[in-house]
Amino acid sequence: MADNEFLENADGKTLSKPPTPGDIFFDKSFRFLTRAFTWATILLLAFIVYKIGGEALPAFPDLRIKFLFTSTWDSSQNVYGLLPQIWGTLYSSFLALILGGFFGITIAIFITQDFLPYKIEIILKNIIELLAAIPSVVYGLWGIYVLIPLIRPFANFLHEHLGWIPFFSTRLSGLGLLPAALVLSIMILPTVAAISQDAFKAIPHKTKEAAFGMGTTRWEAILRVMLPAASGGIFGALVLGFGRALGETMALAMLIGSMPTVTLSILSPADTIAALLANTFPEAAVGLETGALMYAACVLLLITLIVNVAGAVIVAKATPGGDKR
């Protein structure tokens, strides 16, 4: 009787039996399939690099390395140069990193260093994570109709009174580096904050207790003990944030003004590689211009791969378990 009860509970299956030939066949093919898809992941990334590289290759004899150091992009004369876009990509990401990095680290300190009751801590964490959930195209729209009108008077005040500083040497006529970098910094803030939080949480409690035991104030403990202890992870967070900023497309395509200039002025329009691709690709002439754009895509891919790999390695080394992101 007891036997039957067990059988009923197991939906008619016996609880234990050796695998049938069918089971073994299923097992083998299932395991083969998982292995195949693991290989496919590796091949996919290799294929992406190979394909984009392959499309760029025909343009290389015409454009050569010079492509990276000249500034004209003129499809009517078939002259292409990527220098302003490379500069704009690095400069806008750097500006975003200064601002987003500062806020990200400060918020990570605020959340992890017992400033807040647990409930408010969770709310703040969720708000910061939701910042990352908003699509970048919505940030672009917000940037055009809300942010730019808001910062324009302030930016032009800066130009009029501090115009001798190269950073403010032009007027902000609307689209430009400053609004683009501001939106970009909002977009990388959650990345920096999240990874920095992991770095702070990885520090053993005793470290802080020892600092307090020496009679430090809360901020002496944070600045002299906690920050140095977490510095490796925070550095990795900044590098990964920089990587995110380099590859970000839509907010920049909508806000930066797409003007190929090499400028220090944060109030001037500029251009980035990703924005160039977004704006030019759909209408590009087949032939050398498409080739030049593929070349540009290749450059962007290489820069972001290098920065992201570096960031991942730094984070993995600095915070055990922090490499899961």
Binding site: T34, E129, P135
Partner: protein
Amino acid sequence: MEPRALKSIVLSVITIVCAITACIPLFSVLLMLVYRGGKRLSFQLFYTLPPGAFDAPGVGGFGNAIVGTAFMVGIAGLISVPFGILAAIYLAELDPHSKVSEIARFCAKTMTGLPSIIAGVFAYAVVVLVMGHYSAWAGGIALSLLMLPTVMLTAEEAIKMVPNPMREAAYGMGCTPSQSLTEVILPVAMPSIITGVVLAVARAAGETAPLLFTALFSESWLAPNNPTASLAVLIYNWSSSPYQNLIELAWAASLILVVLVFVLNIISRSIGGKTKL
């Protein structure tokens, strides 16, 4: 007061101000979406086609873009979810420490940082150039590249979190590795896997750059072999339109997109929150 204590208080105040400042953009975006997008919100948006430039203000919608986004995210999910979960099973369960797994894990992590525009360029080269025309398929494939690493890495974590005694019990009952996976481990890990999938879907729904030159845009209803409209590209195209009507619709589309993304985020949190192993 002692200068050290004073310094501590000043720094605390600065931190609080920073935290509040960082929250402002989120509330500003949400407020503007409700204010400017909410004005145009109606059922008409969901079943009408985009208006012509000279239609009366207040006319038209973007039903085709909603369908297009759903269709392309669906294709992306159909590709990336089985792909990601099967690879994750291998990484987490079958052979976690082999060279192949190490390299595949590294590749997936690298792909999380892949600029979304590069996914578009790749899909353009592989699908659009081969098929000879823009299509919803190309858009879906571009999106799947962005979903894959998220699905894979979260699924791997989810499978790893299944307690070891459950595995041992399954093996002890004479299960083959695959049986222990399909009967025991995957069902236990499923809520966490779904969390990752939902997050990936939420991200893909808002992606614009991969669709710009794979799916392009269209003014008519979904036809998968032709250029296809999506909410994200619609917002981009109409954001700088000279017509007030189209700008209003872009705000309404943004509101719908953000509500969708937030709902997906909340769903994934509530699924993930319930099943902390």
